[in-house]
Amino acid sequence: MEQTDRIDFSLGAEMGLKDILSAPDVIPLLKVIAGAGADLAAVTDNKGKFLWSEGNIPDAKELPLQAMKAIAEVDSKKTILEGASQEGIIWRLAAIRYEAETIGFFFVSSSGTLNGQMLSSLMETAFTGLNIIIRNIVKRVFTTELHTTVVKRSYEELLEINKNLTASEKKYKELSETLEQKVLKRTEELKRAYTRLLQQEKMASIGQLAAGVAHEINNPIGFIYSNLNTLEKYVKNFTEMLEFYKRQEAIDNRQEADELYKKLKIDFIMSDINDLIKQSVDGAERIKNIVANLKGFSHIDESADREMSINAELDNTISVLSNEIKNRSAKIIRHYGQAADFFGNPGLICQAFLNILLNALYSKDDNIIVTIKTEQQGNNAVISIADNGKGIPQEIQSRIFEPFFTTKDVGKGTGMGLTVAYDIISQYGGNIEVKSEVGKGSNFIITLPLKGKLNGKIR
């Protein structure tokens, strides 16, 4: 700022006579003097050399000797010096001053045409005229200089102001642009956080419900199961006793007993009762398994991160989905590889697997095959869940993780499944990559960093 505000252009630069006067300013005046009877009218520089001259002595280049000798005297005076040579030539000499400094001389001479008085008054008139010309030119030069300086300066200032304005405008524009981006980003984050919260809450209440139900069922199923086993033993005893009685000949009402035996279909009961009990035991066992799975899925007892086997959690998720898999008549193929334990919240990880698996199960209407592969790549666990469904069109691939984005009919899908899955995986520093081809199917590749126990705790 300081630098550009400096003006190098200075007012009132030093000027010589030739800087001020030009031929068209002087020549007419000199011509008038010569026409009025002077032999020679001349304007010289400060050394007495002619700058412009008019008259009958065209060869003269400088003041005549006598006048030349007098210039120092004229310089110190403000009056017109009068002189006459032995040849009868009379002359007048005056100093031309600019800002108090002598910058030239004005000379007029006559050899007889004019007398001394006439020459003096001619000189006086012409010299006054010349000074007026000079004065007016100088004024004009000053005014122009000042005007130029001020305009130049104002222009420079305007340029500077404009530059600063442009810069600040750019700054604010950038700020507003990034602001918009920031707001968008934050809004997105908030939206995600909100939906995650919502989902977690939902999951938590489902989990609590499941745990409650599981707990309530667990006790009765426990004594049902154990009683059934006891009952089986009892029935065995009954059967043995009945058979023993049947073999006895010496019974009073033999015939009556046989009839009743037949009527009550004891033979059939005896052959069916074991199946009955066996089926009940199986059923009770299945109920026990379902309850165990429910408990395992909800992880209601564990809200904290812990070590877990990804393969086991996948199995867990698949068994929770077993009903869905049966309904969709889908086939699950597992290619489990070896992977180190992952440190995280199994409830959340299972939720992510579940959402992606559900997506795969609905990837088309029949003959669904879902292939699940797990392996360890470097420090990452890589889980790929591939289906042979309809595939995701290129143009919507970037949107599938957006909250509330769904291709299902209104009311059928929440558009939250993949969003939640994505959020959970990113929460653990992982990511989900999608490879999909229309008509061939989609592959969701989940990468989870295996941070180890220690790192996991620091996270």
């Binding site: 400096r6 200075s10 600019y98 400094e101 000042l146």
Partner: protein
């Protein structure tokens, strides 16, 4: 800031009369023109004015030769005091070698004096002149009027700054020469060390100031 032409053996100095509008800057120059001897002093050049208010500047030139042959030209400028002519003020102030600040003594003008002095400080900084170093004198003009700030108060205010203060009534020619003389002397001190005026050019401060403040004897005799 000084203009020094070695080939021409010439030095050009620029002194500026600064101050608020109507404080009497042009009057100061007019009186200098009247009082000082015609010898070595040029005519007062007044650029076009509007209603007697300076809109460009006035210029009073001086010219003399030091014993060494060094030609010295001193140009004394006024600036337009009106606030709106700030660009012109800056242009005139550029490369100044000394400043006389002409203040208006009237109590009613005190605020304008302050404003103008602040403007001077600002503009000096803008044209790259250090106000601490440049020769500066202050003149409180219009002492002949009523309702003026007392001399005691002025001295109390300005003494701590070390800036020479003069009382003047430029309209009657009082204090005008004193102000100018001190400015010229301070300017001599300011440039002497750098251009060795005394040693190289045998030009003492007295000669320097004397050349610029030769009072017209005819006038003095009246």
């Amino acid at each position: 800031m000084i203009e020094y032409d070695e080939i021409e053996n010439k030095m050009v100095l620029k002194l500026v009369y600064y101050g608020p509008a109507m404080s009497g800057k042009t009057t100061n120059l007019l009186r200098l023109h009247d009082i000082l001897n015609i010898e070595g002093r040029g005519d007062l050049m007044t650029l076009d004015t509007k209603d007697d208010r300076t809109i460009f500047f006035d210029l009073l030139p001086f010219f003399f030769t030091a014993p060494s042959g060094l030609k010295i030209k001193v140009k004394v400028y006024t600036v337009p005091g009106q606030v709106r002519h700030d660009a012109t003020r800056k242009a005139v102030l550029t490369r100044a070698d000394g400043i006389a600040f002409i203040a208006d003594s009237q109590i009613s003008e005190s605020a304008n004096n302050v404003e103008s002095f602040e403007n001077l400080e600002k503009n000096l900084a803008l044209v790259g002149i250090n106000i601490e170093k440049i020769p500066l004198v202050i003149q409180f003009n219009k002492r002949d009027l009523k309702d003026i700030v007392s001399e005691d108060e002025i001295h109390r205010t300005w003494e701590p700054t070390g800036i020479p203060v003069f009382m003047a009534s430029a309209l009657y020619g009082q204090g005008v020469i004193e102000t100018f003389k001190r400015l010229v002397e301070l300017t001599y001190d300011y440039i002497d060390t750098r251009y060795s005026l005394k040693e190289k050019h045998m030009l003492s401060k007295e000669m320097f100031a004397g050349n610029l403040t030769k009072v017209n004897t005819e006038l003095a005799g009246q």
